[in-house]
């Protein structure tokens, strides 16, 4: 009986590992979504749609909270951290709006 349970657990673990390996490119990129979405959509909300900071936070927030936020009004840059990743968006000009900066 005990053996069967162990076997089932082992099989389950192997399946999980295979799944992780199979989906690695998706899993690896996933944590970045939270901060990149937040910084890009906040940047556009604030500098393109010209809404208030409060409104733009309300616009950009997701179900996973962020850990750090900075809006540099002089440089027109929005930096956000979440799930261990940091992303920055920058406002270029009236025609081109905001773009995510690449490291």
């Amino acid at each position: 009986m005990k053996k069967n349970i162990l076997r089932a657990l082992l099989l389950f673990a192997v399946l999980i590992i295979l799944w992780i390996q199979w989906n690695w490119k998706h899993l690896e990129a996933f944590p970045s979504i939270i901060s990149s979405f937040y910084s890009k959509e906040f940047c556009s909300c604030y500098y393109v749609m010209k809404q208030s900071e409060e409104q733009c936070h309300n616009f950009a927030r997701q179900w996973v909270p962020i850990s750090q936020f900075g809006n540099d009004i002089e440089k027109k840059e929005v930096t956000v951290s979440g799930l261990g990743r940091t992303n920055k968006s920058i406002f270029l000009n009236e025609k081109q709006g905001c773009v995510l900066k690449n490291d």
């Binding site: 990129a29 996933f30 979504i33 990149s36 979405f37 749609m49 010209k50 709006g97 773009v99 690449n102």
Partner: protein, 393 residues
């Protein structure tokens, strides 16, 4: 845990129904009757009382309250959240209202309405003989020529959302494998069109409609290569916005300098209504033809690939045409009209979180509705029904 199960169920569903026979043939195209309008809103829209253009002011109040009535807590982003509403009849504004700090001068994110404006740029480019509807995509965009299967994808297929590229659309529902999220925010964001072109082929190009932001951004990159970077940067502004008198617009690009045609065009509600008015007038603006003859009809014709697309629950809600939506239904597939209480000839551009542009030629009406709906609280059919009922003659 439930989310993981939902993801698995979703993945299983996606694997179903891959047996297909190819469908070919061009959509039927015929010219709409030419309209004559003495007033063009190039400088500014004229405003008038609803009654003076045959619309009941009282009934129009019901349209307004449907759009702006709060049905949930705003701090929780619940219910309908309308940011702006503009209704045009006979070329004049009969209703205009804004909420939640938006005004007639504020730019608003249009999300996927941007796709329909990429289609407009294709209309203009084809009219000017810059490229052809049935050109294979790889003629103009090398990344799409990686193998024989990818080489079969034409501009028409991309416009009909029938490229057959294995994209996974879906924002919040399945974030892990969503190619639209990867494209906009992570793995694809540096060069979205190249990322999209690298996706494998899931079905013969032209045979299966699958709504995909990737198809649009490939179209956007094709334009960049055809025009060259400088002319491309000016393309929407000089060739479309300037003739229509749209002075204020933002169209964001990815890090490689390609317009994010799938998602990131910002316009005021009044200016988006001008795009609708161009289509209402069969692509003619102030007696100058900007879109080719038959283009608006092409816009109203469901993608041919619908006839061979496996049935899914989303199929009846969409009625995708060539980067717009139509109220035709697809009788061959038993797909009913998406908005049964609206006139049959209603067609639309539509975006995430409640962005809408409706064109109703039979009523001479254009509607722009902006919002930030995080729930499916705004019912398009109910809304359009109220609009139709407000028209007296």
């Amino acid at each position: 845990m439930q989310k993981i199960f939902t993801c698995f169920a979703f993945l299983l569903i996606l694997q179903c129904g891959k047996d297909l026979t190819p469908y070919g043939g061009a959509p039927e195209v015929s010219t709409l009757p030419t309209r004559f309008k003495p007033d063009w809103p190039t400088l500014e829209w004229k405003e008038t009382k609803p009654e003076s253009v045959g619309v009941s002011g009282d009934k129009l109040k019901l349209v307004e309250s449907y759009a702006f009535e709060r049905t949930g807590d705003d701090t929780d982003r619940k219910g309908k959240r309308t940011d702006g509403l503009v209704i045009i009849r006979n070329g004049k504004i009969i209703l205009e209202k804004y909420a939640r700090n938006f005004t007639k001068d504020t730019l608003h994110l249009t999300w996927s309405v941007s796709k329909s404006i990429i289609q407009t740029l294709y209309g203009i480019s084809i009219k000017n003989d810059i490229l052809k509807l049935d050109d294979p995509g790889y003629y103009h965009f090398e990344a799409l020529g990686k193998d024989e299967a990818h080489k079969k994808i034409t501009i028409r297929h991309l416009l009909n959302m029938s490229s057959g590229l294995e994209a996974e659309e879906g924002y919040e529902s399945g974030p892990l494998k969503s190619s639209v999220i990867a494209m906009l925010y992570t793995r694809g964001r540096k060069d979205m069109a190249t990322f999209c072109s690298s996706l494998p082929i899931r079905s013969e190009p032209g045979t299966q409609v699958y709504y995909s932001s990737c198809d649009t951004n490939i179209l956007s990159a094709i334009l960049k290569n055809v025009y060259g970077k400088d002319a491309y940067n000016d393309l929407p502004f000089k060739q479309l916005f300037e003739p229509l008198g749209i002075k204020n617009a933002t169209f964001e690009q990815d890090a490689s300098g390609t317009f994010v045609g799938s998602s990131y065009l910002y316009l005021t509600a009044r200016d988006l209504a001008k795009i609708g008015y161009l289509y209402l007038n069969d692509g003619i603006w102030d007696s100058k033809r900007l879109l080719p003859e038959g283009w608006v009809n092409f816009t109203m014709t469901p993608a041919p690939g619908y006839k061979t697309t496996p049935y899914s629950i989303d199929l009846p809600t969409d009625n995708y045409t060539s980067h717009w939506y139509a109220n035709t239904g697809v009788p061959e597939r038993g797909v009913p009209e998406p908005w049964p209480d609206a006139p049959k000839d209603t067609f639309a551009a539509s975006g995430h979180w409640g962005q809408m542009l409706f064109v109703i030629p039979s009523l001479d009406i254009v509607i722009v509705r902006y919002g930030d709906d995080r729930e499916k609280a705004f019912n398009k059919n109910e809304f359009l029904k109220l609009v139709k009922e407000s028209v007296i003659r």
